[in-house]
């Protein structure tokens, strides 16, 4: 089941409150400002900053970027 657009539209980075981008495969949200990847598990976005993964920036904006190795 895909994430609902009405939720995606209002989400923001919990750290900087800026815009976040949903990966094309809906695996998670990327904050390019904070360089953090927030995973989506079973259609529930996890915005616990302590559990966010560093974001490498590779492929940013193409939907093909990968979280940096944990």
């Amino acid at each position: 089941m895909a994430l609902s657009q009405d939720l995606i539209d209002i989400l923001a980075c919990p750290k900087c409150k800026g815009t976040i981008r949903l990966e094309k495969d809906q695996s998670g949200f990327v904050c390019e400002t904070c360089k953090l990847f927030y995973p989506v598990v079973d259609d529930i976005p996890n915005f616990l900053i302590e559990e966010a993964r560093p974001w490498s920036g590779a492929g940013s904006g193409t939907g093909t970027g990968e979280p940096a190795p944990a």
Binding site: P14, K17, D42, I44, N46
Partner: protein, 263 residues
């Protein structure tokens, strides 16, 4: 600064089902009071902070456009979404984060609710500032929580009982302290109802200490201490807390308050 309350996640993850089934959470007075005070509209987007068993989120969903069930525990959110599906509700979404660090853009909700959860928050002021930030101008806040007594001795006993019951308890506040916290977060038209003086409780007849402890998996030695403290409290304290001995159990009052305000 945002905190992740790991203890709270550990405590409440396994308890999602128990909180969903809890009578005081499912049918308590403050749930109806929240709906009455908010007067939900069909166009409203509602954020239910620290949704827990999801009772508030599920109660509001049929009356509004969108409800987001928020909690620091993924199990709680997952269970709430499952209950929404079972109830045929299609407008309920979920996110995981601490209440002090909400992952939403500014001014995107019409209503922010929170029921009987603030006493677990690391920082009530930060949580209220986040609620204020995500509310549209004129948006409604409606929160309920445990109420602290103004009498220091009674308040100390309330706190001791709560910490024994659940180690993730952080604190409770008097109606005056709630008003100050809401003002400090930038809210207006603040109203506080209930509290110890008004003896507002979720259910008539008070709370069974045994059931209260069972729901939260309170360790047996802590439960025994709770029973001892209630039984051996001085008479004025017993009267203030409505303590009633019932064989091996003790009933007493967990007082609540309801705080409403506008952004």
């Amino acid at each position: 600064m945002c905190h992740m309350t790991r203890d709270t996640v550990r405590q409440f993850g396994p308890l999602a089902r128990d909180y969903a089934l809890s009578e005081s959470h499912a049918r308590g007075r403050t749930l109806a009071m929240l709906a009455l005070r908010v007067q939900p509209r069909a166009t409203d987007a509602v954020l239910d902070v620290a949704t827990g068993g999801g009772h508030t989120a599920l109660a509001f969903a049929p009356a509004v456009r969108l409800v987001v069930a928020h909690d620091v525990s993924r199990s709680m959110v997952q269970q709430t979404l499952g209950r929404a599906r079972d109830a045929g509700l299609s407008n309920l979404r979920g996110v995981v984060s601490p209440a002090e660090c909400i992952p939403f853009a500014a001014e995107c909700f019409d209503v922010v609710t929170c029921r009987t959860a603030a006493h677990h928050f690391d920082d009530l002021g930060a949580a209220l500032r986040e609620a204020r930030r995500v509310l549209r101008s004129g948006g409604r806040l409606a929160w309920t929580d445990l109420a602290a007594a103004t009498d220091p001795e009674l308040r100390a006993l309330q706190h001791r009982l709560e910490v024994l019951h659940d180690a993730t308890h952080r604190g409770t506040w008097t109606p005056a302290e709630w008003r100050d916290a809401l003002e400090g977060a930038g809210f207006r038209e603040i109203a506080i109802e209930g509290g110890v003086d008004e003896r507002l409780t979720e259910l008539p007849g008070g709370t069974s200490a045994a059931e209260w402890c069972e729901r939260s998996r309170t360790p047996p030695e802590a439960q025994a201490e709770i029973l001892r403290l209630l039984r051996e409290a001085r008479q004025t304290t017993r009267e203030a807390l409505g303590v009633r001995d019932e064989g091996d159990d003790v009933r007493f009052c967990l007082y609540k308050l309801v705080a409403t305000a506008r952004a």
